[in-house]
Amino acid sequence: MSRLSIITKDRAQATVEDMYKDLERRITASPPGLCPIDLTSSFLKMAHAQTCGKCVPCRIGLGQLQNLLEDVLDGRGKLETIDLIEKTARSIYNSADCAIGYEAAHMVLKGIEGFRDDYMEHILRGRCNFGIYQSVPCVSLCPADVDIPGYIALISEGRYEDAIALIMKDNPMPATCAYVCEHPCEVRCRRNMIDDSINIRGLKRFAVDNANFIPLPDRAPLTGKRVAVIGAGPSGLSAAYYLSLMGHHVELFEKRDHLGGMLRYGIPSYRLARETLDKEIETMLSFDVKIHKGINIGKDISIVDVRNKFDAVYIAIGAQIDKKIGIIGEEGEGVVSAVDILRDYGDEKYHDFNGKNILVLGGGNVAIDVARTAIRSGANKADIVYRRRKADMPAMKEEVEAAVAEGCEIYELSLPLSIERNEEGKVNGLIVKPQIVGSMDNGRPATRDAKELPINIPCDMVVIAIGQGIESKDFEKDGIPVRRGVIDALASAGVVDIPGVFAGGDCISGPATVIQAIAAGKVAAANIDNYLGFHHVIETPVKVPDPRLSDRVPCGRVTMKERPADERVHDFLLSELGMSLQEANQESKRCLRCDHFGFGVFKGGRIERW
């Protein structure tokens, strides 16, 4: 016997390690709507397999907990069973020796709190409150219900125009989304069970970049109804498109000089080219939408007047105003809001940041956008100061990486305390208090003060990017209900208690994503149409190809490339590169066609019209 030996993985262990990875990916791709008790029981079974067997609560208790859960699931449970489950889990939690036991019990306890209703339903009626009603993962996670398997199949056949036409049935901004959608559709892609999710946005971009002229659907006969849309962001534009397609007369009111809302005044042109945006907006307004630019509803005309002049109104004013951070030195020259800077760029007023050392405060996409914009406008430095860890930033990961590659430094775990100014009042530094990562708070760790002294980060300009608010005051004054700063609207987009007035997008939710805003516009269009006494059906003649029957062999995901950082920092041209034809063909053929294979062929596989 050697005194020590090097441990090598045997084949069985290597296989198990592989299975862990498979399981991780499988959990990622879990369909929504599963029975939470069934899942708890299944997780318990795995936890029980992990037990080392030393201690009673874990070795025996986890098994007995499973038995009790199975009783509930099999209709053998009584109301007292819930109490016994709770008591057993509590005692395991309190007395298990290690996390294998107490964390498994903790999961059960959380469940009893989180879905007690479902326990009751199982016990009293033998039924589950849940059901897989959303059968195609990508479609169910797309706020606008875009037929994703459908357009990917069309792309795989080279039918890019049809792909776009199919998208436009549910989302009239395919080009915009091709470049900047946050692609929630990719999160639970079933392809994860094999290898990795489909690059859905990348494929859409390929279709957008390669499609020729796409004829619009025929406009329905004129209805004589008049609808006012306030705000020409993605939500207002989407509502205007569908409502005008339905034959209604739409007038669009926009406070600023150009259309597009945050797509122009928030998103820099290196992410979404202005020509692309302008072309898309022009298409969306094809059906005689009347445009009023530079009109501020609430100030120039009251919302009451608008309501009186139109048969229905859609309020989609977005979340446009900056928030203050509330630290010493914030007032005065050298401290600006990210919203203001990006707005200027939207109006083609480029700043000159030559030689400037800029610090951006915030961790969201806006912070990244403004930092990358500043770099492109000649800043010597445009660094980001964020109070939590880099991993906790709400900005999209690929955006953060791109910013870092462009030279943006990220000061993580740094809580801004004050902005320092010299005798002339010019900004010369930011004092931050170092933090350490702290306890978990709603799934992400909070921070706590590090036992260290504050640090002065030298700079000559500070940009605040800590979120946006909604300019709802003028609307509230005129009787539009506002709750916690947002307009109070229902899931139908109908404003509470005011018939004929609808609202949607960021102004009812706070800052959210483009696709959520578009979906809200679509919902509003459908419900306004009904409110006006119509039921126009939106559909497309495009027929989705039958699925290929070949095996789906494991194959990696095509990821998007960017232009070299040292080249792209000098211009505002698109940073991301599109897929090649070869890549698009391969990627599109990876799609598992959940509309056909699986539950989708039975229910919910395709929503052909709305």
């Binding site: 029975c35 069934d38 339903e121 033998g126 095996d551």
Partner: protein, 579 residues
């Protein structure tokens, strides 16, 4: 056309068809279980899985489209193994006590398991747990359900009531009443289409045959049986009889052998229905300004349940006339009791119906106008009668034809077509024409209302009045028609609705043929019977005329109203037993 190869046979088949269809065209059978053409092509049972050259995993034949040059094998080791394992897996969760199953001998699963030569299964039995109200006319047996989803699809796509849905998730996925309701709280019309499209015995009607055998054995009971129009077109199917042989007069003989005292025909009361409903319609037409139009027929209890749950605000459109079944019951326990000079409570009325909803109708809280308990005591479906014939060991091939009894055994050709979609309308128009003009039209004058489409319309001239009528069968079609009426897109004077596609001929109580819709074939039989009838008009049925003469006086008389009409608003959708 595309060229493919199936089991080494080169064939040319049309483009765009499924592998299953292509195999069928090539005279190659691929076993399938959940598949129902155009209705349920979801590849759930995986029994139709086949091998395609160049593909590692198997592909279901029922819902995948052939590709040019495809090389298909339907019986490889991989296919055989998977097919057999899948059937065994289904059997592990199927209560395979075939001996006590109503579908034994007519069960897809039984056939496939037998064909595959499965003599024992290797898996542990695991039956789902759920309770069902066994008093309800429709019965689901969770332990027999194979989750093929056909019932869900029929109810969604054809009947548009969405009573069934997938319930629970994961390994406990089941089929149950949608939205976590129990069946009594659901909007079930009791059409029974889920039963006739179930491949196994998971769905059936409540079996009431024992109640009938009991009554037959009771010396104090006078058993009176009525046979619905559509039953005569179907009762012999599962007994292996040809429709020309399986006549109503042979059925009458079989029932007499069983011990029924009097064998009557629902056609009698169908003619009575025409007299009442036709007269009511003419009254409504006379007072067009004040009366509710269109008038809807009211013979079909599935339709009554549908309108009560889906369009309760439109109940005034229903004719107040009872259905032929209920008119028969009321007349049997009054007029006929007087003829027999017996206490009506001694009379036990059985009806043989192509229908499950009729079981509900007979038990409706207000269907007791004769004052002797339920007007109709027991309702049997065509299938139950077929089971009674078998259990009595009646040698059907030797049956002779016997006459039905008088006077309630007489019916017209107009009554016999009640069993097919459009038939009630056609019969009513024949007599309405007479009632208005005093002359008979040609019996075929209103043939335009016949047809296969689910929603038809026609216009007729009735003594100078243009009548616009519509006929719909199937509740999905009915809903479309109702919405059109509501929105003012369609205007009619008279509308006939039958719940089952094709009418009672395709009723949910009729014999079951896997994957074949029999309604229109049976309807043709009924139209044939009408054509050869001596009497083609309800108002010429001598027994009906006599009944008015001796008892009811005239249509819409006080007695008629008491016995033959009803207020559908009073109908409860579910009455708990013993309440």
């Amino acid at each position: 056309m595309v060229n493919i190869m199936i089991n080494n046979k080169k064939v040319t088949v049309p483009e765009g068809i499924t592998i299953l269809q292509a195999a069928k065209l090539s005279h190659i059978n691929i076993p399938n279980l959940c598949y129902l053409k155009d209705m349920n092509e979801i590849g759930a049972c995986r029994v139709c899985a086949i091998e395609v050259l160049g593909t590692e995993r198997l592909i279901t034949a029922c819902n995948n489209i052939i590709e040019d040059g495809m090389v298909i094998y339907t019986n490889t080791p991989k296919v055989r193994e998977a097919r057999k394992v899948n059937v065994e897996l289904i059997l592990s969760q199927h209560d395979a006590t075939c001996t006590t199953c109503v579908r034994s001998g007519n069960c897809q699963l039984q056939t496939i398991a037998n064909d595959l030569g499965i003599t024992q299964t290797q898996y542990k039995e695991e039956m789902p747990f759920a309770k069902w109200n066994m008093d309800f006319p429709l019965i689901r047996n969770y332990e027999k359900c194979i989750k093929c989803m056909r019932c869900v699809q029929i109810c969604d796509k054809v009947q548009d009531l969405k009573v069934w849905d997938v319930s629970n998730t994961g390994s406990r996925t089941n089929v149950d009443v949608s939205h976590n309701r129990v069946i009594e709280e659901s909007d079930c019309s009791l059409c029974g289409q889920c039963i006739t499209h179930c491949p196994v015995g998971a769905l059936r009607e409540r079996d009431d045959t024992d109640k009938v055998f009991e009554a037959l054995a009771d010396k104090d009971k006078i058993t009176v049986v009525q046979i619905a129009p559509a039953v005569r077109a179907a009762w012999g199917e599962s007994l292996g009889l040809k429709s020309e042989f399986a006549t109503i007069r042979r059925l009458a003989t079989a029932l007499r052998i069983m011990g029924f005292n009097y064998i009557f025909d629902t056609n009698f009361s169908a003619d009575l229905t025409i007299m009442e409903e036709g007269s009511e319609f003419i009254e409504r037409l006379k007072h067009r300004e004040t009366s509710v139009l269109p008038m809807f027929t009211s013979c079909c209890p599935g339709w009554i349940r549908f309108i009560k749950t889906q369009y309760p605000d439109m109940l005034d459109h229903l004719s107040t006339a009872k259905s032929p079944q209920q008119m028969f019951g009321a007349i049997a326990k009054t007029y006929y009791a007087e003829i027999l000079n017996v206490d009506p409570s001694k009379i036990f009325v059985v009806s043989i119906m192509p229908c499950v909803a009729k079981k509900y109708e007979a038990g409706v809280n207000v269907m007791n106008d004769a004052g002797a308990g339920q007007d109709v005591d027991v309702v049997l479906t065509t299938r139950e009668v077929e089971r009674m014939i078998r259990s009595e060991n009646i040698n059907v091939v030797e049956l002779v034809q016997e006459e039905l009894d008088a006077p309630l055994g007489t019916g017209s050709g107009a009554a016999v077509i009640f069993g097919a979609t459009g038939g009630v309308m056609e019969a009513a128009l024949r007599s309405a024409y007479f009632l208005v003009t005093g002359e008979n039209p040609s019996p075929d004058a209103f043939k335009d209302v016949r047809g296969n489409e689910g929603w038809r319309e026609a216009t007729f001239d009735l003594a100078g009045t243009q009548l616009k009528i519509a006929v719909a069968s199937g509740l999905g079609n009915t809903r479309r028609l109702m919405e059109a009426i509501r929105k003012g897109e369609a205007q009619y004077d008279f509308v006939e609705i039958m719940t089952c596609p094709g009418g009672c001929a395709g009723g949910g109580g009729q014999p079951i043929w896997n994957g074949i819709e029999m309604a229109y074939n049976r309807g043709e039989v009924l139209y044939g019977l009408d054509e050869i009838s001596d009497i083609r008009f309800s108002h010429e049925n001598p027994s009906v005329l006599k009944c008015y003469d001796k008892y009811l006086q005239k249509p819409l008389s006080h007695t008629s109203h008491k016995l033959l009409h009803t207020d559908h608003k009073q109908w409860e959708l579910y009455t708990k037993k013993g309440e």
